[in-house]
Symmetry: C2
Subunit: 767 residues, 2 copies
């Protein structure tokens, strides 16, 4: 396992320059503020291997789809998050020669992502000729206070010579997505302009008319003294720049402050963008870099008060959990129900940046319990806003009567994915969307979303399941044919246990919710009219609930992943030659499909969601069987195993899985960090602490904990927002302390014992 980054409680640190790791490090050191995000590309020219990435939240492009063999029902386009204008660019020339780390003689190099303050720094030294050296220090952050703003402080100190330094600060909109299906560029120029100390470019997407104005303002100091800026403005298509020349004596420091903003049409109409950009830049330059950084870092520290998980005694684990929490906060802040969380956030192009079931299955609990129910509700609303399109989507596939199939990948509610075995068959996503509604309600005891659209969503999903099963004369049961479960190393299987189970549960839960709302006569009659619902529909649902097939090995407690699973040649991961891993890189797809190896929790995902439905022996038997056959080549897998291992008192396994989920990208387990970070699975890491080691559950409507502590740790603590209160839990080897930080009293259970903790008081019990 690589240990490339220095272990540190609050920082990610890279010592020395490693060009072979540059693409991975660009992912790891990514910055974001919910409004925009960016890979850790260098400001100055870099001719080595790189993946340029600047992203603006909610701005995407419907790229013409690329398929090998068209299947009826495929969507026409694959929407993808756009690589937007590169606003960080500062080209440096020293005596006419470009500063380029791919070509320079590097004396030292260090970068650090300070997660506490949300700042990326980079210090390095290069030598041009013997005795002619240059020291460079760079600070960069995307403000979480001023959401449109990105700030750079770029300092150069020549040593041993007095060079001519050319500085060209630019914005380059002539960018491309590396994943563009036909190598098209997606932006066109609308306007641009320059002044002596700044410039802007307004770009519009070739389809959908998203418009983003990116603008920069420069301030340059020499040894702290502001320089008057007289230079050249060079413009090209979609490109603006401000270029200046300085003679800098040895030992003196030239500092470029680059203030940049991205103003997007999600917030500001096209015709007002240039003015808004100028207004913002005026405000930013008035405050100045230091003030902006101070208020940004203060805001981060405020966030950490609520979000932080403190682990004592295990720096690797501490660093990892903070890295996960930090990246989640960089990606999504939850104010805007039009936005969601792409699997890679703002750290790469992979998966197109669309919304997957990851949001409901993994991310919702994190935002619900750290940012609060309004943020989480926005994630639910996102799906309600897209219900009509989910119904259209199902109709295209041949379903009727208001049945909805939510897309596998979406930007605006329309399906983007085009692999039949996923697009048409990985339908368990519908179940996760229903489960999220239930999960929200059980945590908050707030039923309002049911009335505000949630029940419509549930009904449409229930109707889908009802039509998606069919009666098997052979089995004398309802079966569900041709599905792909969470384990995507099997495709087009029959009777995937997880999918059958969550379908059955959805029918039950929707029926319960219908019973709940009927007392509200006005709502009920409007609901029936709007959805054409008839209580008769419940009859078919309950028949399916009663008679749906659940593959199980007779005489055991083992549920079978799908029909025919026992026909496979049985092996365990322990039998696998390590050189064959990860199998998704080493084996043909054919071999993977036929093997017994599981990419991701599947039966176990079901037992995680519906733990209370199963006794401990059933969970144990299934865990032991499936864990030993799971290769965890989905980032979403180890967290679930970690939570269940805690439940089963398998501390070593839980800890192994925790490290795997929490350090997935830092240690690059699956050799793919260069493509971006696994943002959505980072929420799973958080679950692994809170629900795994912390043993947090909602049982019969009551918050409860069964904390354990890995033997590698001295203590850990975390905060939760729960029904308006904030509670803080600390677990060490001897005791569990619960602090109620709010004024209201909180009821909860610790190790099955009920407690009521008064406002602003603390309970400690021995472990």
């Amino acid at each position: 396992m690589k240990k490339h980054y220095v272990e540190d409680a609050w920082s990610i640190i890279e010592e020395g320059f490693h060009p072979e790791m540059q693409r991975s490090s660009e992912s790891i050191f990514s910055l974001g503020n919910g409004h925009m995000g960016q890979r850790a590309n260098f400001e100055e020219k870099y001719t080595g291997t790189t993946l340029q990435g600047n992203y603006v939240a909610g701005v995407y492009y419907p790229d013409k789809t690329r398929v090998g063999w068209w299947k009826n029902g495929y969507p026409e386009y694959f929407a993808k998050v756009l690589n937007a204008a590169n606003w960080i660019g500062i080209d440096i020339e020293i005596d006419g020669k470009a500063l380029d780390l791919a070509k320079a003689r590097i004396l030292h190099f260090r970068r650090e992502l300070d997660m506490k303050g949300g700042v990326l720094s980079r210090n390095f030294g290069v030598e041009f000729e013997k005795g002619k050296q240059l020291e460079i220090k760079v600070l960069r952050f995307l403000s979480i206070v001023e959401k449109e703003a990105g700030l750079i402080k770029y300092s150069l100190t020549p040593i041993g010579f007095e060079p001519e330094i050319m500085v060209r600060a630019y914005i380059d909109g002539d960018v491309q997505n590396q994943d563009a299906n036909y190598e098209e560029k997606f932006w066109q120029e609308v306007a641009k302009g320059s002044t002596a100390n700044g410039s802007f470019v307004s770009l519009k997407t070739k389809k959908l008319d998203f418009e983003v104005t990116t603008a920069q303002r420069l301030k340059i100091d020499l040894d702290g003294r502001a320089q008057s800026l007289r230079g050249r403005q060079v413009e090209r298509n979609k490109f603006v720049s401000n270029q200046y020349d300085f003679t800098v004596a040895a030992g003196r420091e030239l500092t470029i402050y680059k203030y940049a903003v991205n103003v997007s049409s999600l917030h500001v109409a096209s015709e007002n963008q240039e003015a808004e950009a100028n207004r913002l830049l005026d405000g930013l330059t008035n405050k100045g870099f230091d003030t902006l950084m101070a208020e940004h870092s203060a805001a981060w520290q405020e966030r950490w008060k609520m979000n932080d998980i403190v682990i004592h005694g295990d720096v690797a684990a501490q660093q990892a959990i903070r890295f996960n929490i930090y990246q989640l906060n960089q990606t999504y802040s939850g104010e805007d129900a039009r936005l969601n969380i792409g699997p890679k956030g703002f750290t790469g192009e992979k998966y197109g940046g669309g919304t997957y079931w990851d949001t409901e299955a993994y991310c919702l609990p994190f935002y619900l319990l750290t940012a609060g129910s309004e943020v989480a509700k926005n994630l639910l609303r996102y799906r309600y806003r897209q219900l009509d399109k989910a119904i259209d989507n199902a109709r295209k596939l041949g379903f009727s009567d208001g049945a909805a199939l939510y897309p596998m990948v979406t930007m605006n509610g329309e399906e983007c994915h085009n692999e039949w075995e996923i697009t048409f068959e990985e339908i368990h996503r519908n179940g996760a969307i229903a489960f999220a509604i239930y999960n929200f309600i059980r945590h908050t005891s707030d039923y309002s979303y049911l009335y505000e659209g949630g029940l419509e969503v549930l009904l449409a999903i229930a109707r889908f399941w009802k039509q998606r099963v069919n009666w098997s004369k052979d089995k004398q049961a309802y079966v569900m044919l041709g599905v792909t479960g969470p384990n995507e190393y099997e495709n087009n299987v029959n009777n995937n246990w997880y999918t059958n189970y969550i379908a059955r549960w959805t029918l039950q839960y929707t029926a319960e919710c219908i019973a709940t709302v009927q007392s509200d006569a006005k709502f009920w009659s409007e609901f029936k009219a709007k959805t054409n619902f008839d209580l008769e529909e419940l009859t078919a649902w309950s028949d399916i609930v009663e008679k749906i097939y659940q593959p199980k090995l007779a005489g055991t407690l083992l549920y079978l992943q799908q029909d025919g699973f026992l026909d496979k040649e049985d092996q365990t991961v322990a039998d696998l030659d390590p050189s064959h891993r990860p199998i998704n890189q080493k084996w043909s797809w054919d071999r993977i499909l036929r093997s017994v190896f599981i990419k991701q929790a599947d039966v176990l995902q079901g037992m995680y969601f519906f733990e209370d439905h199963f006794d401990i022996e059933t969970i144990r038997e299934n865990f032991l069987y499936y864990e030993s056959r799971t290769v965890h080549e989905s980032s979403l897998s180890p967290c679930v195993h970690s939570v269940l291992a805690c439940k089963l008192d398998m501390e070593e396994k839980a800890y192994e899985m925790y490290l795997r989920t929490s350090r997935l990208d830092l240690d690059d387990y699956n050799h793919e960090a260069d493509e971006g970070l696994h943002i959505t699975s980072m929420a799973g890491t958080w679950m692994a602490v809170i629900e795994g080691f912390g043993g947090k559950r909602i049982r019969d409507g009551v918050l409860s904990f069964d904390p354990m502590i890995p033997k590698h740790w001295d203590s850990y603590s975390f905060n939760l927002v729960y029904r308006g209160s904030v509670i803080s839990i600390t677990v060490n080897t001897n005791e569990v302390t619960v602090e109620n930080k709010s004024s209201e009293s909180v009821k909860l259970k610790l190790y099955s014992t009920a407690h009521e903790i008064s406002g602003s008081s603390t309970l400690s019990i021995n472990r």
Copy 2:
């Protein structure tokens, strides 16, 4: 059902111009001579909907593959038959205005493909202004005597006016494949040149360096008097033309003779192509159009002597079978083991023009019994030449020890297809390739191919099957997981009965062949050394033969297409709303996959291949069950059903299926004739007559017939080349006549009675 073309025993005739049918008619009226082929595009400019297609046998392009989501094991390219230089072009301008049927006022229009003589003719009249008309007559053929030659006679007669007629005969190599994945053009120019009466262009493919020189020579007559040719030569990139102007008095006929050749690097080295083209054109022009056409038509008539199937009393059936035989002969002549038969032959781009299992399963018997064993053996040799690549292909998927998986689609032995469910899983193709060897030997009693490579092919396929099955503890049987059978409306199934069966049979047959060859000690020791074969391998094979799983419905004779087939909602084709057909155009892929409907014979394909293994009641029960669930949306399906229906004395069904297979393109059952003709399934049509109605079988090494005759027919007759003899069978309602046209006597069975027919004699028996 459309009946667009006039029914005629020897011709395909279209009356009236139907622009909406133009693309379909371009397919129907295609010409070919084994060396090259061509869709029936117009010579003159045509701005309506068209698919330009000129193809040169064996010349293909490795187009960069296009996939949605890459799977390990996919090939990097999809080789496709190239749209080559358009050599038919003759632009006509009348008083400065282009002749263009998309815009002209058409007075009459007729085209006819004379299959007896192999000539396409087109006569039409257009009116420019009242009283100013033009009559046009065009003859075109691709000589089967001079394989490089295409000939056109294009005559124009003005009526009621004396126009200036501009004639521009051109060769345009600036063409594109409509199916190019990235809209690239695949040809680049190497050389070109023009003289007063001709021009040439040499083109090379951008990859693989195929080179084709296309050249033309013009002769132009006015009322039969040769005109001296003084004109202009206009050249552009990849384009040459000869342009002439004439003033033609009313009622006089201007006739353009265009002699063209395609000389390809498969036969002539690049540096000699221009000279060879000129040499050929000298020869052609010396002979002259009429002589060339006469010798071409005579050669066709000679072919028909052997190939023809005569049906009396049913013009539609007569026309159809001749159309099928004609197209097969246009596509492949069998002299060159580098060539094979693409599903669309030279009539369109679909399926890329590569080789599929169609060749072995459908085409081999046709060529074997009409063209003789040497032609058929070339088809077998094609696969032996590609054995190393088939072994590579299997290795890429994780197989070892000399196991071979032949590609689903190939040009040179490398896999081109890239849908995992087909590429990796539709492995029954390996079985068909083994079966073809057996089929060749049982027809010819010629074992030479076994020693010349055939046994190596069988061994490599047997080794593949051995590794491809695994032992199921659950079933206590060998199972084959993750396959796609001939019925591509199910993907990634377990224990496809057909695949399991043909795998089992391959192991048995290969073991038999190994037993056969061991008496040849020299061969045997060389074979063992070359293949690393050890007789020990047979032990595992015989265990698999004994214990491979064959899904069957208990208590019945019904074999099940695959595991889980009985879980489907049962329906028959009779239950299908006709407006939902063809389901591959009307339904989502999801719905198709989950439905019970079958694209193509699957269990029945197995019973067709291995008829002698099953009693008649088993065949009947399976036929009745599967036929009623088969939608025949593969062109390869109805012929097999027709043959089996004959076997079961289901004359009406056999006839229905015969019409469907034989008139598939003429009546465009599946609404896709515009993409090209179903060339390989045309051989299935031939089988439907010979093996279906004629009841031809090889039983215990003896040729036998059980003829029946559809009640719509008065009689039918056909010839077969059989073990060096030619026999002719005529069946009418009262009797069967067998004429032995060779000097040797022939042993055969008629209705299970053995006969020996002396050379040059005839046997008649009552039916």
